[in-house]
Symmetry: C2
């Protein structure tokens, strides 16, 4: 199938690669042109100068960019993807952005006969590289079924959660659950150190019971050794929490913990540590 | 072996039962006498009028009571366990109390040749009934090795964490990790409901990734259906968080999340909902 992929960051670069490896004819676009050239040097496919040019002739256009404004920029205007897309095609957005911008772009696309899916992902850079992402999708059932076999190139689980916006809302729930786990774990591990316990042994014991979590199984070790040069940056998680808090301002949800942790991430950023993995929350406790 | 068990609550009652079933000669004591009679009606063993009487002749005396003062009450004074114990015997405390009271009683016991183990447990009432508790122990290695085969009657994992107090400190880490997970999950699920998502489907999807936790796997369903008449009471968890916060006041650990959730539990209690399972934290968000 002829497809386009807009945004070749840590996630998009390998995802677009899986599409090419899956036999699709991929045209890529990236704001910084050198990344697109690095991609074409490594994969079958070509690079376009604008999102519109990349989108031309594609049955499905994928995007994976930074935030609401980045997304609007690659989608709208004369050089945007919608300008190059024909009626009857699909735009699938893998960015983590607001549910509002998903609905906004879906409405604009609908006027031109372009179907929209919001399809944020989880699984991190490893998941993207190994093609085992989890994809949470909002949109129409029939559109979902058309896109799904293509998305399968880089996903282990692809689930339709509801109408446009439902994918983003699901991703928000995911992030809230993650940060609660991480902050609790951070406080527990920092406390263990202060208390003179062997933190590794503590984790070994408590991970068998009700305190267990994916983060404990996979990140307690790196948190204890103070290794944060990998993974999902604190600044990115903070961007996501901003989306959660803005959505909650509209739907009335109460998020006392999420708001507190958002401020912890603000402190990390103010200390110049925003590029560290989001488990670096523990540094606010161990190196205050 | 001749043993005693002091405190026949939700946990102690089945634990003492496992000791009897394991072939030990058990004498029980409970503040409310009727519970002790219910126990002897069901198990081999006898009931004593005071902790001192129960402890007389026992090689190991176990306790599982409510808080620091309850523990002092069954241990100290003319009617307390230490008064009935001989030199060379062991007192093993399964209560969740402060590390300070463990050290205090260990020092008093040492003067009488009584060895002390702090040995708080996790695994809940189910774990106690099925004899699969996790036991986190503080004390001397040789004492630990003497008590361990007896504790094995109701435990799946028994680990020596360090000197007296280390068991309690480990349990504190466990509780901090639990409440972080629960509050994050509560905010996520309440948000999902507000956002019009199918919360069960959301959990199905996100529990495959970095948001996964034991609490999500085992409690999201009951939280969604609003079922809280079981499990570990909010008031008990709040008691435990009080211990964590008091210890942190001494060792200097920073616990912003733990402090916030302690206040959430205070609100639950003020609403008359302190007896509900600790996952009832979600009610502060869904029924504020």
């Amino acid at each position: 199938m002829k497809v386009a992929f807009l945004g070749l960051g840590n996630m998009g670069f390998p995802m677009a690669g899986h599409l090419a490896a899956g036999g699709h004819a991929v045209t890529v676009y990236n704001r910084t042109r050198s990344k697109a050239e690095a991609w074409t040097a490594k994969h079958e496919g070509r690079a376009a100068e604008t999102p519109a040019e990349a989108a031309k002739g594609a049955e499905i256009v994928f995007a994976c960019v930074g935030n609401d404004d980045d997304l609007r920029q690659v989608v709208l205007g004369d050089a945007g993807a919608f300008a190059g897309m024909a009626s009857g095609t699909v735009f699938a957005d893998h960015s983590t952005v607001s549910a509002g911008v998903a609905r906004e772009l879906a409405a604009i696309g609908a006027d031109a006969g372009i179907a929209f899916l919001d399809a944020p992902i989880s699984g991190g850079q490893n998941g993207a590289e190994n093609g085992v992402l989890t994809v949470m999708v909002g949109g129409d059932d029939a559109v979902f079924e058309r896109a799904r076999p293509v998305i399968d190139c880089y996903a282990r689980a692809v689930t339709l959660m509801g109408p446009v916006g439902a994918g983003q809302l699901t991703k928000m729930v995911n992030q809230m659950c993650c940060v609660g786990v991480i902050q609790g774990l951070a406080e527990g591990l920092a406390f263990a150190e202060r208390a003179g316990l062997d933190a590794r042994r503590v984790v070994e014991v408590i991970s068998k019971g009700a305190a267990q979590s994916w983060q404990m199984d996979n990140r307690a070790g790196t948190m204890i050794e103070g290794s944060f040069d990998f993974g999902f940056a604190a600044d990115w998680m903070r961007k996501d929490l901003g989306i959660c808090l803005a959505e909650a301002r509209q739907n009335g949800a109460l998020l006392p913990l999420t708001a507190l942790i958002d401020q912890q991430f603000a402190r990390l950023r103010a200390r110049g540590e925003g590029r560290l993995d989001n488990t670096a929350l523990i540094r606010l406790l161990t190196k205050p």
